[in-house]
Subunit: 298 residues, 2 copies
Amino acid sequence: MSPFDLDAYLRERRALVDAALVRLLPGEDVPPPTVHRAMRYSVMAGGKRLRPILVIAGAEAVGAAPATVMPTACALELIHTYSLIHDDLPAMDDDDYRRGRLTNHKVFGDAIAILAGDALLTLAFKLVADNAALVPDARVICDVVAEIADAAGTGGMVAGQVVDIESEGKAVTPETLEYIHSHKTAALLRASLSVGVRLGGGDAAALAAISDAGQSLGVAFQIVDDILDVEGSLEALGKTAGSDARKQKATYPALHGVDASRREARRLIERAKSRLAVFGARSAPICALADFVVERKS
Amino acid sequence: MSPFDLDAYLRERRALVDAALVRLLPGEDVPPPTVHRAMRYSVMAGGKRLRPILVIAGAEAVGAAPATVMPTACALELIHTYSLIHDDLPAMDDDDYRRGRLTNHKVFGDAIAILAGDALLTLAFKLVADNAALVPDARVICDVVAEIADAAGTGGMVAGQVVDIESEGKAVTPETLEYIHSHKTAALLRASLSVGVRLGGGDAAALAAISDAGQSLGVAFQIVDDILDVEGSLEALGKTAGSDARKQKATYPALHGVDASRREARRLIERAKSRLAVFGARSAPICALADFVVERKS
């Protein structure tokens, strides 16, 4: 049992992030209203805010306050949301529900959904640039822009989505599955922690440690996501359980079984936590988040 | 008659840009190859490279060399290309040809086309961040990221595209048409010149002048584009002439007639050139480009 109160931590940080998102997104009455409504519809659909909270936890691990990284924390949530909107399109995964609500294109149509995703990705980089006002060295902001772009583009998230789509209905090797997981999900989770440490003023050793830990945590997160898709229900997930199997998506439990998958997720989380030792007591939130990632039910 | 040899200028700058694009885009053999092939397919389809050349011309107007702004110049071309790929999708304008070749989704499918567009937009911001190595003050790079994001997002290009789509088949007021033109096209053209001046070390007065000139030039460019769509041919344009009318798109000649449209474009170009006087002889390339924009046949 950890003495760290993760529930309170998540509640407080999520409230900070939600308030910042409301403030930083263009208002629904700002022209053109359609796209701004579509952007807010998906961003404010109430996710876990895992990526922004990881940015904040990364900053806190090196002693910086949440406020100093908030624009970048929100940027990571916008990038995550854009990827969900585009992934859900008929041309991609063709999903009707997300987080228990109709997907963006089901409400606003495919054209506005594509543009809302494009706009969220664009706004994300604006927010990172705006973060320059909160840190002493603007060169760090340039590094953060580059790291996020690497993690979100064809060196990360987009690459994972491409290979995921190309693997549908095919027999997938463990190596390909590892590639999909480490790019589609882990890259952005790792970057979230890493840019938090960067903006918080962490040195090269801190960046190496957080990057390793973030990679392990990210892959573990995706493995648990796969398990939940097998075991979960619509109520808990807000999306149709078993949808991966129905679409013949490559998943960790399909390849290795549920028990081995859960063991692998736990092993990765232990590895992540061992790399976090360098941050001492300040890593308590990330360690608790790591346990949460692997034990969560939705 | 201007003594400035625009043909030679465009040829030389375009060669520099094309070489840089080849170097900066991920290779077609880099995994996952599909999306990298799709990105190169559209970027290397041989456009005019107007936006990167405007970035270079902006830098030259304040005495900086093309090499110091090349990553950002390429970034503007990637953003332009991403917008074309997404605009051409069946869910948007549903175009089969662009620059005389099949559109991206006709070759690679809708899913890869969406992802290739997303990846180009993401890579664009990576290139701007990389430009930090070539300028003395990283804070300028943050300003450039913010300005490009404003011009490409719902304060600019995306806003114009949204209103354009929403106006199809409807009677459009002159004010709405002005909104579409100034956002969909002019915003990114203006930003191209402006970030060139910014990276080249221009002061506030230079930025104000170039921003005004860029806005006029950008609107004139779109008006001429509309005229060419009425008058042009598939050979010259690489796309089907009259396609705007067929889709009942709002255009300047449809609202004001071809003669008045051409007069308005010329008036805007004269206004742009008068604002460029502050740069003296160094503005010769931009002035020649402005004349070219309004006199071009494709």
